[in-house]
């Protein structure tokens, strides 16, 4: 990818630290903090921008026949397990527990609760979990025979990752819009690379000084270190990054080649019987929204006219 690693002059970050950015957003009424780090309430200004970003990104769609789906923020547990996320990122997983007992079990739960004990020990895992990535609920619902021309899908939804932080970019739950293709290795790689360029252009139109960087996911533990090194060395993942603070770049989207990982685990196969490959590009809707407020300020009326126009504000 020619854009990765190029030495270009960087636009200075608008804020020195994530703390400065968070304080500006709170002072500007753009977000409201809660008792838990990484969980904040969004204002209507935030939501207007986010919906504008989603519309802007959707406007770049090329495969106009692709099905579009908006997922709820929960997904079937069995399908989640097939993604292997528990194997690769156990520290980020969010599983949902529910109460299934009767009066007797309820009394026992309340007793523990009143004593300040662990009442959740009286719950049982539900048939649903929180999706860790937006395309995860997709694969289990697709026809397993992948046609020669490949399959294009678009999906939008919530993604949960348990990594509490005061950095406003590190939200525990956030929305992503994804363009997914399942097909041959060539079809998947072309999707990833074409969309990376298209994605960078789409974000540049919003006045964001974005660049691409080869990246790796935060795989867990010893095996994870090898997966991360492989991912980086094989250039499977590119992030679309922008400097919002001087501390670290913020990824506001990513372009990923999964090889046959999901084809293998979900039984999606090509005509010759081999597992299908796949690729996705994810636009981090909440992260892009954050970046827009960081770069253009907390007063929507003062944003550049071309940006307001692109977001239909």
């Amino acid at each position: 990818m020619s854009v990765a690693g190029e030495q270009v002059e960087r636009t200075p970050a608008p804020y020195a630290t994530p703390d400065d950015l968070r304080e500006a957003l709170v002072d500007g009424g753009v977000i409201h903090l809660t008792a838990v780090d990484g969980v904040h309430h969004r204002s209507w200004a935030w939501e207007r921008v986010l919906r504008g970003v989603e519309g802007h990104v959707m406007g770049k769609r090329v495969a106009t026949h692709a099905t579009q789906r908006w997922f709820p923020p929960i997904m079937p547990r069995e399908e989640f397990l097939k993604t292997d996320y528990v194997r690769s990122f156990p520290d980020l997983v969010g599983s949902i527990d529910v109460f299934t007992g009767g009066d007797k079990e309820h009394r026992a739960l309340l007793e523990v609760l009143e004593q300040g004990g662990d009442w959740t020990a009286h719950l049982t895992p539900a048939e649903v979990v929180l999706p860790s990535s937006v395309c995860h609920p997709l694969y289990g619902t697709l026809a397993q025979d992948v046609p020669a021309e490949g399959v294009d899908e678009e999906c939008s939804g919530w993604s949960f990752r348990h990594e509490p932080s005061l950095d406003p970019a590190r939200m525990q739950i956030f929305r992503i819009y994804e363009f997914v293709r399942i097909g041959t290795p060539e079809q998947s790689l072309a999707h990833r690379d074409d969309w990376l360029q298209r994605g960078l252009a789409a974000l540049t139109e919003l006045g964001l000084p974005v660049r691409s960087e080869a990246a790796n996911d935060p795989f867990f533990g010893r095996v994870g270190r090898m997966l991360a090194a492989n991912q980086l060395e094989s250039a499977l993942k590119y992030e679309m990054c922008v400097d919002l603070t001087e501390v670290r770049p913020t990824a506001i989207g990513s372009s990923n080649y999964h090889e046959d990982h999901f084809g293998h685990t979900f039984g999606l196969h090509l005509a010759d019987g081999t597992p299908a490959h796949s690729a996705c590009i994810g636009f981090g809707l909440d992260r892009i929204t954050l970046a827009l407020f960081a770069v253009h300020g907390t007063d929507l009326d003062a944003w550049p006219e071309e940006v307001r126009s692109a977001l239909a504000l």
Partner: protein, 90 residues
């Protein structure tokens, strides 16, 4: 001895590498990634080697190139003192 370590590696690859071709059609130096082994599959191969020879690959070996060919895997095992993995002992 070298032959048996190589055979065992080939057996582990047949079981875990999810190659697009028959392992027997590959030479010891053929690129396993080129033959269809994915990143996730290479990790499974790595863990299978650790189980087979009761060892742990040190962090500096946990990279793509270590598992790129049968010869590379054999070299890594040799470095970790696996009997019969050294080419010199062939």
């Amino acid at each position: 001895m070298t032959q048996s370590v190589t055979d065992t590696i080939r057996g582990l690859l047949a079981e875990h590498a999810r190659l697009g071709v028959d392992v027997s059609s590959l030479s010891d130096t053929d690129d396993l990634y080129g033959a269809g082994m994915t990143s996730h599959a290479s990790v499974t191969v790595m863990l299978a080697c650790e189980d087979e020879w009761d060892l742990e690959f040190p962090q500096q070996m946990l990279k793509k190139s270590t598992f790129a060919s049968i010869a590379n895997i054999r070299d890594a095992l040799s470095e970790l003192g696996v009997d019969g993995a050294s080419v010199a002992s062939a």
